[in-house]
Subunit: 253 residues, 2 copies
């Protein structure tokens, strides 16, 4: 196994750049960390580009399985790559998913229209996974799925359901062509309390930006606007919480 | 109006310390920022200790109303106190709430057993406000309500409903004495899917720690354990999302 000791090594420098969305896009790869996540990636057939292990993990099952692309790193390097205070000493560079364009939609989807907080996007993917949704699609101005803060909130759910980044007009056209109803979460005069909506097998739930909600161009294309009644004095709900309430609320369970 | 120009001024040094939980506890006061939050605090009868305004806010209605405790500050000081990139130039030091012990509970409450992420605690308070709950109580090991990150997520909901920090055994005793049913969110063999629970007017919903869930001592005292069915492959939900799903799910709306 090749062994790298210096943080100034060219490979390590490149891997460090994977904390930036721009570089993730350029390379089509991202960095994941820790046994749990790497085991999940392996179990869910993700494409590994590189595996990095410190000395104490060199004999791990994964290090053996991926020996052809495994590289030894010093504890110092592990600390510099890690998002945690006590790194487990195992990292992987893997390929981003779903490079094939989406051509058909079935079941229940979540679509995010410019949701910009990384924690919100990641938490919504995790909740969509838990609630058994078919997949999550974000607009081009939403937070990128693969940046470290989104990853932290997804907790590996990106390996369980497809996630796409698409132009909003394209995804709405595709949803309608595929026969899905589209429900926009927005408080307005015509909106329906979500518990009044009839359960449906195939639909897309569209959530809007944290500050501005759904854009007008999106709103006019909705089959139904739905809202969560505010029973107290708060002005609104956090979008990830609202998405969770709606995802489970619209399920016939 | 007194005017402070130096960051090294003793008052400013003290106010800067209000970003620490320890100092908030010691003084019984905390710092809030921006027109929206300060107007909400004013409209909801919070006790103001100090108002700090930059020159351009000196003639604001609030600066006039609180002229006896208002102090002018430089833009530099405003930047040093602010949690935002573009400070509005208005800050207030106000008293923490609910120093009177809680002696009776009615309606629907949320109780947090060692929820430690500040964003989760704050978001749960905001959701409890939106869902019309009577109040939120945290255990002594939960994130403190008044630290800046919790405040940011509460978005002023602390002015709309009572929030308490109490010993868990005391709060559970009080809830039972007050005639509330206590429902613990926990996946186990005897737990009930939350949609099967009959709607009830008076109850306390108890949520556990992010990693460990409810503690054993708490769990044995629950009238009912409830859970949110996981329909996909995620292992769990974020606790603030789970609390939101349950808070709305248990409402007869």
């Amino acid at each position: 196994m090749k062994y790298i000791e210096s943080k100034k090594n060219e490979d390590i420098k490149q891997i460090n750049k994977l904390s930036s969305t721009k570089y993730i896009k350029k390379t089509g790869t991202y960095l994941i960390e820790g046994f749990h996540l790497i085991q999940e990636a392996d179990a869910n057939d993700q494409e590994f580009v590189k595996l990095l292990v410190t000395e104490k993990q060199e004999n791990d099952r994964l290090a053996k399985k991926y020996r052809d692309i495994a590289v030894g790193i010093s504890d110092d390097i592990a600390e510099s790559l890690s998002e945690t205070k006590t790194p487990q000493g195992i990292f992987a560079v893997i390929k981003v998913q779903n490079t094939e364009p989406l051509t058909d939609m079935h079941g229940q989807w979540v679509i995010l229209d410019d949701v910009q907080d990384p924690g919100n996007v990641g938490t919504i993917v995790r909740t969509a996974d838990a609630a058994g949704y078919a997949g999550v699609i974000t607009s081009l101005n939403s937070a990128d799925f693969y940046q470290p803060k989104v990853q932290r909130s997804m907790q590996g759910s990106q390996f369980h359901l497809p996630i796409y980044r698409m132009d909003m007009q394209d995804v709405l056209k595709l949803a309608k062509k595929s026969g899905l109803k589209v429900y926009g979460s927005e408080v307005n005069d015509r909106a329906l309390p979500y518990k009044k909506l009839e359960n449906s097998e195939d639909f897309a739930l569209v959530m809007g930006n944290e500050a501005h909600g759904l854009s007008k161009e999106v709103l006019v294309q909705m089959d139904e606007n739905i809202y969560i009644p505010i029973l107290g004095k708060a002005e609104s709900l956090n979008v990830a919480v609202a998405a969770g309430i709606l995802m489970y609320g619209l399920k016939a369970i």
